[in-house]
């Protein structure tokens, strides 16, 4: 039972990290072109570095 004191904060923290990541993707407009994103991974452009 003592483990709970550790595990619960950890699970809440991980959930929080996920939420923050989601909000970040939303702010960065990453849901505007789902079809395009699915296809872009197949392209050979900017394979060596991210497009600035």
């Amino acid at each position: 039972m003592e483990m709970l004191a550790l595990l619960i904060p950890i699970s809440l923290f991980l959930g929080g990290v996920g939420l923050v990541a989601f909000l970040w993707t939303l702010k960065n407009r990453q849901y505007e072109d789902p079809d395009g994103d699915a296809n872009r991974i197949l392209g050979t452009d900017y394979d060596d570095r991210p497009k600035s």
Binding site: I8, G15, E32, D33, G36, G43, T44
Partner: protein, 727 residues
Amino acid sequence: MATLAPSLSACPACVAAPAAEALADRRAEKEAGLVLSLPTAHCAVCISDVERALVTMPGVRSARVNLTLKRVSVAASSDVMADTLIARLKSIGYPAHELDPGLLSATETDKRGRDLLMRLGVAGFAMMNIMLLSVAVWSGAEAATRDLFHWISAAIALPTLAFSGQPFFASAWASLRARRLGMDVPISLALILASSISLYETFASGHHAYFDAAVSLCFFLLAGRYLDYRSRAAARSAAEELTALEVPRATKVAGGEEAVVPIAELVVGDFVRVRPGARMPVDGIVIEGASEIDRSLLTGETLPVPAATGTAVSAGEVNLTGPLLLQVTAAGRETSLHRMADLVAVAESAKTRYTSLADRMARAYSPSVHILALAAFSVWLYLTRDVRLSVNIAAAVLIITCPCALALAVPAVVTAASGKLFRKGLLIKDGTALERLAEVDTVVFDKTGTLTLGAPEAAGLGGHPREAKEVAAALAGGSAHPLSRSLSAALSADGIIPATVAAIREVPGFGVEGEWNGQSVRLGRAEWVGAEPAAGTATYLRIGSGRPEAFAFTDRLRPGAEEAVEALKAAGKRVILLSGDTEVPVAQLARELGITEWRSGQRPEEKASRIAALQDDGAKVLMVGDGLNDTAALASAHVSISPASALDAARVASDIVLLGQDLAPLSDAVRIARQTRRRIKENFGLSFAYNLIAVPIALAGLATPLIAALAMSTSSITVSLNALRLK
């Protein structure tokens, strides 16, 4: 579905104010760029081809393809014109059109969708965490541990509900203020009641807390609402795109100089130059020049009409042969085009509003849920005199009956169906259009531009002497008139090599003339050539003083028209043809397609009143039309479809837009619509069946949070899976 609509629009509070300024800034920056529509882009290669081609052009700073919307936004210095970009894209095989970015800005900064998605995400993450804690409680956590878990759940659930539940609270409040009982009232009541009861139970270290149920309820409902919003937004942005296709500009002539100006800046008395092939931007009188004009979009006539000094022209007509100088008699809202559109608005408001299946369901649903919960409370209070227990049971009833499945039932099916139809080239503009389409038993077609392409094609070429065909090919090659172009294409497809004709000269409004073997030759209008005009569309050739030859044209059938009519007849629909054109071509087309009921020479009012008469007899009419003369009919029909080539007034008036050339998807659309309605009904049946089992359990006081969570998830998932069965 329509019940969900007002909640979105009646919710100004949830359109977040923060970051609005930042968005406004970003929009201003975007508007400085160019937006092109790329109808053929579909894969990874298209993306990189287009972006690479554009970025290497001088003055272009960046180009980004959006494949979902089939658009490319280009940031470029102000001296880069859209035409040069379009020419470059065309040279690498991608046809593109310029879009008016001003009209598109609403979808670019799609705040409402992102707002819903944010609330959905927050609810989802909170749900996962609370479920994790609840599983521990369900599997037997006791006393202090259980209380701790309940407290943590409360700490997550209450802020989440306060944030994610806002769309429901706001719309419930709005509907209460309007003295209505919308679907959002029981939803809000269930959310608030469940969380306050659970909070009280947690204080009193009770056994049951419904935090997980409340949050997952919120999550599923938001998912339904987001799906609904997405399909709406996709339709709206494509409809906007169609409107934005016609960038409204005109060439104004002032003091001997020509300048391209927005149509909105034109005033009565201005002079406007209209090049051959362009559409009249305003109503006006021809001051200078001779030409022919194509009025088919306005009246349905296939034959071009001659225009000379003094002819009055209307906005929307197409100038065919010679440049014209117009004096503006009416511009903008005053033009006949706009007056027609206003007529449509009147017809539309007179149309009885269709109550969607979801609306009818919600109307019966809300009161019965409230009554049920209230009854549960009073009966248990009377039997046990225990307020706490009675409130708990009433809350359980509200949670269990809460319309998760009901809220997902319609949007999930409509999303699946409209996605399917979009891939077939049909764009659903109105949420209830599919339901209405499913009821159709009579289909009314317009002729020109709908069943036919509205473009003439040379017919019966075999009957002309080879010599005449060679001369005709040479003369037709020297003109951009649609009849000439079509004739020249047909002749070269026949393997005719044009004769050597010297001094070819186009006489705007009449035809083409030249010299061949020392004789003067003419190809053009009957009276100019000196021939007897024949019935139907034709152009005439005269060699020297010989007998004139008539080259006849027929309007080509739209691909898929035959299949569509056949499939509709096979499905037992009554097919009717109403056309503004003259009798001969209409009769011929009706015979060709096997349509027995047809009328020619119909004026716009006649079309509309014919449809009204059919509907008075109890028929559900689907109108398919493209011209301005069809708009009133389109607006008054039960449901309407127009091709993308239609005038925007017609597209605005119709519920569904056909994006491709092919008419064949029409019968698919009717079939899918019927299937959609069946799936929606099945979904309602499923959620009822689930209520039939779960409600007695809740009324008997046997419902636990575990049962509520199980019932809710299984019903939502079955409903969504059933929607995906759509073929």
